[in-house]
């Protein structure tokens, strides 16, 4: 520790953890299975339908659509697969560019690459932790031109075929602002709502305000299917094509094995969907618990100078999937001290992702000035967030 002041911040944070979370070890995010999980899994085994056929996939899709208000949900093997297909269906073509925040999990950029398109990194705003409509608007005005109703990067000559709005840690991005930019430049919006099941913007569940969106049910998410994801859309044709492409593009026939496109083996197994159905039942309770935990953290961290806890954006309701504190000042040394000290003391904390624009596979990609992304990346720490805490 290099100063009294940083010592005191680090100690104060640890004291908050002790008061609120109790004795260590405390994980960052752990799932709970306290409902019908075992019952539904057992039904799966007893029916022998554990795989690509079975009632739980249909049921899970119907329940996801109902919960999110999306007209259609297509269950898939994980959030990355969901985003990959969402991008394909939104018209992302080989050689084109896709705008996405540099501040996101690597899968967001990987999904772009699977479409043989190129990530093009844009900045976030601190108030949502998601892409900033105003600065993206100015940036696009400066680097792009419209030709035949399509948006092209003037520097590279490549068409910009999509913009990914990512809801970081479950906090809704300014989707209305982003949709306005989307209309101005005719760039479809794909929502990466991997972390945002149970989050709302202006009363609408996130993930289907743009053309199409993706959810994730990985083990660290607010609900889990072991591994799983879903595509959300209000467009019936896109939903049908999503189902077709994620199930090897097989054409309907009583026995013929005929496929009319290059499809994917992305269908969620029935056994994982069964887990999802049980987990969805407990989602309202989990959302309540997470909000309560946020409020306890908020009260406690208000008394710690030098940091604050991230709060849901205006007019939004966050699922508070991963709670985050931010340092007031950009101080990576202090950030690392907090990470080091809390983890050594048994309270699992994590930094945000390294900016994707700094990773070897993406270091040569196009990018705008990422000033806010860098600042947030140096200042943000995710803290224990399990719904049972």
């Amino acid at each position: 520790m290099n100063s009294v002041s940083s010592d005191s911040i680090v100690d104060n944070i640890l004291q908050v953890f002790k008061n609120i979370l109790g004795e260590p070890p405390i994980g960052l995010h752990e799932p709970t299975f306290e409902g019908n999980e075992w019952k539904y899994l057992k039904e799966c085994l007893d029916s022998t339908f554990v795989s690509s056929v079975g009632k739980y996939v249909d049921l899970f899709e119907a329940q996801l659509a109902e919960f999110t208000g999306a007209k259609h949900a297509v269950a898939v093997v994980n959030g990355t697969a969901a985003l990959h297909i969402a991008l394909k269906l939104s018209g992302v073509s080989p050689g084109s560019e896709v705008l996405l925040p540099a501040f996101t999990f690597v899968a967001t950029a990987n999904a772009v690459t699977y479409c043989q398109a190129k990530p093009h990194f844009i900045d976030i705003e601190e108030k949502t932790l998601g892409i900033c409509p105003a600065s993206v608007y100015e940036y696009l005005k400066s680097i792009s031109e419209m030709r035949g109703g399509k948006c092209f990067n003037r520097q590279t000559g490549c068409e910009i075929t999509a913009m990914i709005a990512m809801h970081s840690f479950g906090h809704p991005v300014d989707i209305e602002g982003i949709l306005k930019v989307s209309r101005d430049f005719n760039i479809p919006v794909v929502e990466d709502a991997a972390e945002a099941l149970g989050s709302y913007s202006h009363g609408e569940h996130v993930g289907h305000s743009g053309l199409i969106g993706a959810l994730s049910f990985n083990g660290n998410k607010i609900i889990t299917t072991g591994g799983g994801g879903a595509i959300l859309t209000d467009n019936q044709d896109l939903a049908a094509r999503a189902k077709h492409l994620t199930t090897t593009a097989k054409t309907a026939h009583p026995w013929e094995y005929r496929h009319d496109a290059i499809g994917f083996n992305y269908r969620l197994p029935n056994i994982n969907a069964a887990l999802g159905c049980a987990q969805l039942e407990s989602l309202p309770q989990k959302l309540q618990n997470k909000r309560k935990l946020f409020n306890r953290y908020k009260n406690a961290f208000e008394k710690v100078s030098g940091i604050f806890i991230f709060e849901e954006p205006e007019n939004c309701k966050s699922n508070y999937w991963l709670q985050a504190i931010l340092l007031n000042e950009d101080d990576i040394v202090l950030r690392n001290e907090i990470l080091d000290y809390s983890n050594k003391n048994g309270y699992c904390t994590r930094p945000a992702w390294e900016l994707l624009s700094t990773l070897d596979p993406y270091i040569n990609c196009q990018k705008m000035d990422l000033i806010n992304s860098k600042s947030v990346q140096n200042r943000l720490i995710n803290i224990p967030s399990s719904a049972h805490l």
Copy 2:
């Protein structure tokens, strides 16, 4: 029915089904869960480790390696993912060509396409239902040339970067013959052993005689994890790279999210691996049952003229995953009559796959004369094969 003779074949087949399988409905292939499946799944739930962390993934990988004799097994989300990564690691590069049988499931060609390479279809031989080393050797002699130790298609100018040996319905291909062709033209062999867990060629379990191979544990396979697959290899470096690429290529660090390559979210969830561990325990029994079923079919079909049951190739031990009968003569009308009549009477039968070279997405791919593939495709019918029959 268009003749007395075909009437009689169709009726005789149905009579065999009735005698051997009992009253309909009888499915084509159904899994059974009669061992520790419940116990291990419950352990997963109770431990809360259902996803990407947990002991069953490591255990399943160790048990797969032990069972197959491969030095390394890397569990992944399905067989298609396993094949995709196996091809990548064998050196398949964008724009290159990959030799594969036209007679296989569409995922074999899709995995090639995911590598941005081009499928190039080769013929099978009837005695193995897999690619024919002799005709592929002659074909390569006629269309390829060696440059700098690499094999190029003279017509397209593209490098041929791999050859996929697929073990159809679990019957081992002539891997020794294929490896000889592989050495002659310096083309790595990737084994598509999706259907062949429990199959042996000259005493060696299939899937790791070439550079690398893929298994599948989809719901219709001899054992199932709901959805799942594995990469097999004897090469430690390839195994390490397979694990790295299938787990988002994250570099080791206590907390940093840094990724050094474009990776994939292909890891098998712990809950699916738990199912796999239980299923592996029952594999020897399943193999015995399937061999017994084959022998009962063989005895019965010997008395039906015009057809025969496919028997494991010489020096091979097949898992008899999907039993198959073949018509003596190429007669697609009769084949369809048998399919129609058996399915209408509640005994599920299926034709082989449409040749991939005839599917819309692959119709313009390079191909050799597919005379045996066409003949087998018109004559083969898969019949009920569940291990509990």
